[in-house]
């Protein structure tokens, strides 16, 4: 197909940007990334989540998550009237293929996506006997797969159930906040795949990040605040029934 000069001029800058990202697709280190410039978190908007499971599928493909285990998952809540102490919750295969209708009527119903909260005071890194799981300077909790003993103390210590034991690698495993992506200026796989913007990566150290304006104007919560984990995944519209 022949392009006119005008078309080339329009396409060129776009092609440059695309080329940068094509390069980013090749396995290499992230040369221009400075850890101390960032403090990562995530914003989850319950009012927007439609339970499609795109995030769960995207994560499992991006990170080769084994079947039956979840780095992220979606829960569906049904709350009858004022009985927030007694919700009905389900998560069929982590919500990977969405949620079939469960015949629930009435009450309050909503979806809650969950993932590692990348706690700033994480109980999981506290208990690791060898330093195989740790905080980075930019606030991401990671696992060193070549150092982990597989003692599973960290899995016991996580209050949110976000860790599991990798059946093939025999080490602990969990969400890495797609560190290999965010260190290259991309967003996480789950946020990329989310069609409604219910999941948004947040750089709390970046003054221009929209999360700051959002936090100022919305009531947000973290999960299990009484455990003082310093969780950095913020939920908008989180109901009191959420466990």
């Amino acid at each position: 197909m022949t392009l006119s000069r005008r078309q080339i001029l329009l396409l060129l800058p776009a092609a440059v940007v695309a080329w940068d990202f094509v390069l980013a697709g090749t396995p290499e280190e992230a040369p221009n990334y400075k850890m101390t410039d960032h403090w990562w978190g995530m914003l989850l908007d319950i009012t927007k989540c439609i339970g499609c499971g795109s995030c769960v599928r995207a994560c499992s493909m991006e990170n080769e998550v084994p079947d039956g285990y979840f780095r992220t998952w979606v829960e569906r809540y049904h709350v009858d009237d004022w009985h927030i102490e007694n919700p009905r919750v389900d998560s069929p295969d982590g919500g990977k293929e969405g949620f079939p209708t469960n015949g629930m009527t009435g009450g309050k119903n909503f979806f809650v996506p969950k993932l590692c909260n990348h706690c700033s005071d994480s109980p999981c890194t506290q208990v690791c006997p060898v330093g195989a799981t740790f905080h980075t300077a930019d606030g991401v909790v990671l696992i060193d797969y070549n150092y982990c003993l597989g003692c599973r103390y960290c899995i016991q210590a996580c209050p949110y159930g976000c860790r599991f034991f990798h059946p093939d690698r025999h080490t602990a495993e969990k969400c890495t906040l797609c560190y290999h992506r965010i260190s290259k200026g991309l967003t996480t796989a789950c946020c990329e795949a989310c069609p409604t913007g219910a999941r948004q990566l947040a750089d709390l150290k970046n003054p221009k990040d929209p999360i700051h304006a959002f936090l100022k104007t919305h009531a947000v919560q973290v999960l299990k605040p009484h455990l003082a984990t310093g969780a950095k995944v913020f939920y908008n519209g989180l109901d009191g029934s959420v466990r």
């Binding site: 695309a18 697709g25 009527t105 119903n109 060193d144 290999h180 992506r181 290259k184």
Partner: protein, 157 residues
């Protein structure tokens, strides 16, 4: 003098302990990975290992670079903020080398239904339908263009 001789048997024990301590220190120097402690109480090389994982999703900006025409259509409709790979699946390999990987068109029957089939737990303002009744067996893109899904009974583009 007698006292010392009577305690002399404790010296080999003390020596063994000392030897053990020295061996421990030497072992540590030899075996602990060199990058341990570089950034914190963990193996510094782990960060490189983690960041060098291959990308599976290219990210929407990579798609938009080569497909500005689709971007233009999408930007005008309600799917403006639905990223390409959300429907088309992970395509970093295609972005790397477009000719080598031809993306397969997603199956409309499963794809659209996953988001849009009605469910009491979905936010009430979100467009949702009873799939069977609404489609009457027809594929969704008979009337809706996926990149800009207004209602268009005229057919797919």
């Amino acid at each position: 003098m007698n006292g010392f001789r009577d305690s002399a048997h404790l010296i080999p024990i003390a020596a063994l302990f000392l030897l053990g301590a020295v061996a421990f220190v030497a072992l540590r120097a030899a075996v602990i990975p060199k990058s341990f402690g570089r950034y914190g109480p963990y193996r510094g090389d782990a960060l490189q290992e983690i960041t060098s994982r291959p990308l599976v999703y290219a990210g929407h900006e990579a798609c938009e670079g080569c497909h500005p025409d689709v971007l233009e259509i999408k930007a005008k409709g309600v799917h403006a903020h639905v990223n390409c790979e959300s429907c088309h699946g992970p395509l970093a390999k295609h972005a790397d080398d477009p000719a080598s990987v031809i993306p397969v068109k997603p199956d409309v029957a499963t794809l659209c239904v996953r988001c849009h089939s009605e469910n009491i737990a979905k936010p009430s303002g979100f467009p949702q339908v009873n799939a069977k009744e609404h489609t009457q067996g027809q594929p969704c893109n008979t009337c809706h263009q996926p990149h800009s899904p207004g209602f268009d009974p005229g057919g797919k583009k």
